[in-house]
């Protein structure tokens, strides 16, 4: 059994009166690719964002590489209660809306955090950035501004930007949902390669095909809880729960 990279227990999250996560547990081992599926409002994105503390949970515990990242006793609220730096230096995230820095070139997008957060020298950062951007197939776009790139290209830059920080875990929050269909493949291919290189990945997605082919485990969430969990062959081909069947029925019939 691979070493546990990420472990979440009893995660609860509220937005005002609305309970979005009602006690979610998840364990992800090194090199594992976990895909989280579910209808909108199921809380899957919120759950993902709990992992890197963009949405600190009201209750629950989070362990990154065995380290309890909660500063205070038991559950904490507010940023001060969590080890933000520890988490964010080990966990990278790619967003649905890319969120590239529009006032910086592609290269600068990937070098900025390296220099400011990791303290790498300009040369070091540039070298790493260039290497990563070439790996995602954008070596010729280093000096372009994001507005000139297609959605698919921008998302690949976003992946490179996150990878430049040498994360141990990568989170993907519906990263192809905002893309035109013909641009989706290039991003999924990049993610596939990443998985093959052994990156631990937690992927919230609607791309069932990707889940089937790349995921080690599929998690189905609905109404703030995990409904069903297991290898893709089981969850996708032979779902046990009624809600899973319903969801897949709706999605697969497209």
């Amino acid at each position: 059994m691979a070493e546990t990279m990420v472990k979440l227990q009893g995660i609860c999250k509220r937005f005002g009166d609305l309970e979005v996560l009602k006690g979610v547990d998840l364990e992800v081992g090194r090199g594992e690719v976990v895909c989280i599926l579910g209808p909108s409002g199921s809380g899957k994105s919120t759950f993902l964002r709990c992992i890197n503390l963009l949405e600190p949970p009201e209750e629950g515990e989070i362990f990154i590489e065995g380290n309890d990242i909660c500063k205070g006793p038991g559950s904490g609220t507010g940023e001060q209660s969590w080890e933000l730096n520890f988490v964010r230096q080990r966990v990278g995230i790619v967003f649905q809306q890319f969120n590239l820095f529009p006032h910086k070139t592609t290269l600068e997008n990937v070098t900025l955090a390296q220099e400011e957060v990791l303290g790498r020298s300009k040369q070091e950062a540039r070298a790493k950035a260039t290497e990563l951007l070439e790996r995602v197939g954008l070596g010729d776009k280093l000096d372009q501004y994001p507005e000139r790139l297609s959605g698919g290209q921008q998302q690949r830059v976003a992946i490179a930007r996150a990878l430049a920080m040498d994360p141990h875990v990568m989170l993907f929050d519906e990263v192809t949902s905002a893309l035109d269909p013909e641009l989706v493949k290039e991003v999924l291919d990049t993610m596939r390669e990443l998985a093959e290189e052994g990156m631990t990945m937690i992927v919230v997605t609607h791309e069932i095909g990707f889940a089937r082919e790349v995921a080690d485990r599929v998690v189905f969430m609905d109404g703030g809880v995990i409904v069903e969990e297991g290898p893709p062959s089981q969850v996708l081909e032979n779902p046990q729960q009624e809600r899973t069947k319903q969801f897949l029925g709706l999605v697969l019939d497209r």
């Binding site: 809306q97 900025l112 955090a113």
Partner: protein
């Protein structure tokens, strides 16, 4: 009708006092330059203080908001008169600060600049805030997720983008500030309005005042047009979804 022109557009009077009024108008520009520079810096500081995150820093945010609300509400004239009328009597302040004659400018100049900076700091802070809040939330999320601290994110990601969104409203504030330099006339600083009033009482004629108005129009009208064009250009860019140029 000819009386109207005599009172307001007597070119002889304008001619005889032209250089006097122009020289005084230059004083308005000096006040403006000093006050604007300081207010822009002070306003940014206020805006950043207001953005400080976390529960522990709530008192700072609160005081900042209170300051901004207060000084947006009090008329500048009152502030000028409070400073010039009261500060000289505060003997616990050393004389060189209490009655400043820095850089060859007399105390009314500095009282006026102080009042303008105090108030326009509040106004510009609001412009900065609007700019900062207009930057999409995802930018901060991305920056923080990469491990940047709040300050690093502000400095490298948020503020540079905010600054591209604010030239138009900020220029409006600066135009307002330029006009408000005339308020210092009430504490006997020889700027254009004061000098025009002297001509008025001497010649019983308002033409010098019209001349002063003319100087303001000449400077401000082109600036106002620049503002209009900036707004139109950025609105066009937002509509086309392209990125807004950062200088």
């Amino acid at each position: 009708m000819s009386e109207f022109f005599n009172q307001y557009f007597d070119f002889h009077v304008m001619g005889e006092h032209f250089w006097e009024v122009l020289e005084a108008f230059l004083q308005n520009l000096v006040i403006f330059a000093v006050a604007a520079a300081l207010a822009l810096i002070w306003g940014l500081a206020l805006a950043l203080l207001r953005q400080l995150p976390g529960k522990k820093l709530l008192p700072i945010r609160f005081i900042t908001v209170a300051y901004i609300d207060l000084f947006r509400a009090i008329p500048i004239l009152i502030i000028i008169l409070l400073i010039s009328g009261g500060v000289p009597f505060l003997s616990f302040i050393p004389q060189s600060i209490r009655i400043p004659h820095w850089f060859g400018k007399p105390d009314p100049f500095w009282y006026g600049v102080a009042a303008l900076v105090i108030v326009y700091g509040a106004f510009t802070a609001e412009v900065y805030r609007a700019g900062i809040e207009a930057v999409p939330g995802g930018q901060m999320e991305a920056a923080r997720s990469l491990g940047m601290s709040h300050w690093q994110a502000m400095r490298h990601v948020i503020v540079p983008q905010a600054l591209t969104l604010i030239p138009a409203p900020m220029l409006n504030e600066m135009i307002s500030l330029l006009k408000d330099t005339t308020l210092i006339s009430v504490i006997a600083f020889s700027e254009a309005v004061l000098v025009s009033r002297e001509v008025l009482s001497e010649r019983l004629n308002s033409s010098a005042m019209i001349l002063t108005a003319f100087f303001f129009v000449v400077i401000i009208l082109p600036l106002a047009r620049v503002v209009d064009r900036l707004i139109a250009r950025n609105q066009g860019k937002i509509a086309r979804g392209s990125h807004i140029e950062v200088a």
